[in-house]
């Protein structure tokens, strides 16, 4: 096994845009990456081309801008909806992006945002009805897990802690 010098690990992690997560679409035609550069990029597996790109938004009040990032937090995780239409991301809040309309669809507020906690993991259930996330907020040393039932058409949601 190769031994990798510490300086290489530090140098490469520092100088390159860090990839925080990768998620395949349910139909296995695309994958999405999220990064410290506060963007989501979607690639077509067959053509190897970048087909969608979203810059993170902050608080859901503004639509993304292609060249300007206005979010303060890196995107730590991203997941697909089972119909391959939406990508859900986690940073300061949870954001849903609609790949069909190529626009931001919904913001689900992080309940611990004011305390400086960010979303670390987010996932949609295979039936598309439930969204779970964790944040840096800890309960007895463990991440708190929230279950969310988003109403994509109405924009409302209910939340329960588990």
């Amino acid at each position: 096994m190769k031994v990798r010098p510490l300086f290489e690990m530090i140098f490469l992690s520092f100088i390159k845009g860090r990839i925080n997560s990768l998620a395949f679409s349910f139909d296995s035609q695309y994958f999405a990456t999220s990064s410290d550069d506060k963007s989501i990029k979607v690639f077509d597996i067959k053509t190897k081309e970048l087909v969608h790109q979203f810059s993170a938004i902050d608080g859901g009040k503004k639509i993304f801008f292609p060249l300007v990032t206005i979010s303060q937090a890196p995107i730590l995780d991203a997941s697909w909806s089972p119909d391959n239409r939406y990508i859900v991301t986690g940073n300061t809040d949870i954001q849903l992006y609609d790949l069909q309309t190529k626009s931001h669809a919904m913001t689900l507020e992080n309940p611990h945002k004011k305390e400086g906690n960010t979303i670390t993991e987010v996932i949609i259930s295979p039936n598309g009805k439930t969204l779970c996330f964790t944040s840096t907020k800890k309960y007895k040393g463990y991440p708190e897990i929230y279950r969310l039932d988003p109403n994509l058409s109405g924009g409302s949601s209910s939340m329960t802690s588990s």
Binding site: G17, I19, L22, D27, S35
Partner: protein, 106 residues
């Protein structure tokens, strides 16, 4: 390192005599897939035998790996922040380099 495989009340041990940097279960639940830093290896969970190896998938350390839901692809991200996409049918590898920006002005 020892990987424990639980199935109902049955516990099986899979001895792997090397470092594991990341691991996953295949989409069909038949294989344990792991990386020892530079290679990707498949362990058959039924026989506990190593059945497939992709050697030197990257010049840099493999950090995470994912399998596509249809089981045809494996993606790994590496220390140089590239993505290596492995086609399990053709065994070809495509590397996506410099996907994300190194610095963002806010």
């Amino acid at each position: 390192m020892t990987v424990y495989h639980y199935h109902k009340d049955l516990k099986a041990e899979i001895k792997i005599e090397e470092r594991i940097t990341t691991m996953a279960i295949s989409s069909d639940s038949r294989f344990l897939i792991y990386s020892n830093d530079i290679d990707i290896k498949f362990i058959d969970l039924a026989t506990k035998e190593e059945v497939r190896v992709f050697e030197d998938v990257s010049e840099h350390q493999v950090e995470n790996l994912w399998m596509s839901p249809n089981g045809n692809y494996i993606a790994v991200d590496t220390l140089d922040q590239s993505i290596s996409l492995i086609d399990l049918k053709s065994e070809g590898t495509f590397i996506f380099r410099d996907i994300h920006e190194s610095k963002t002005f806010v």
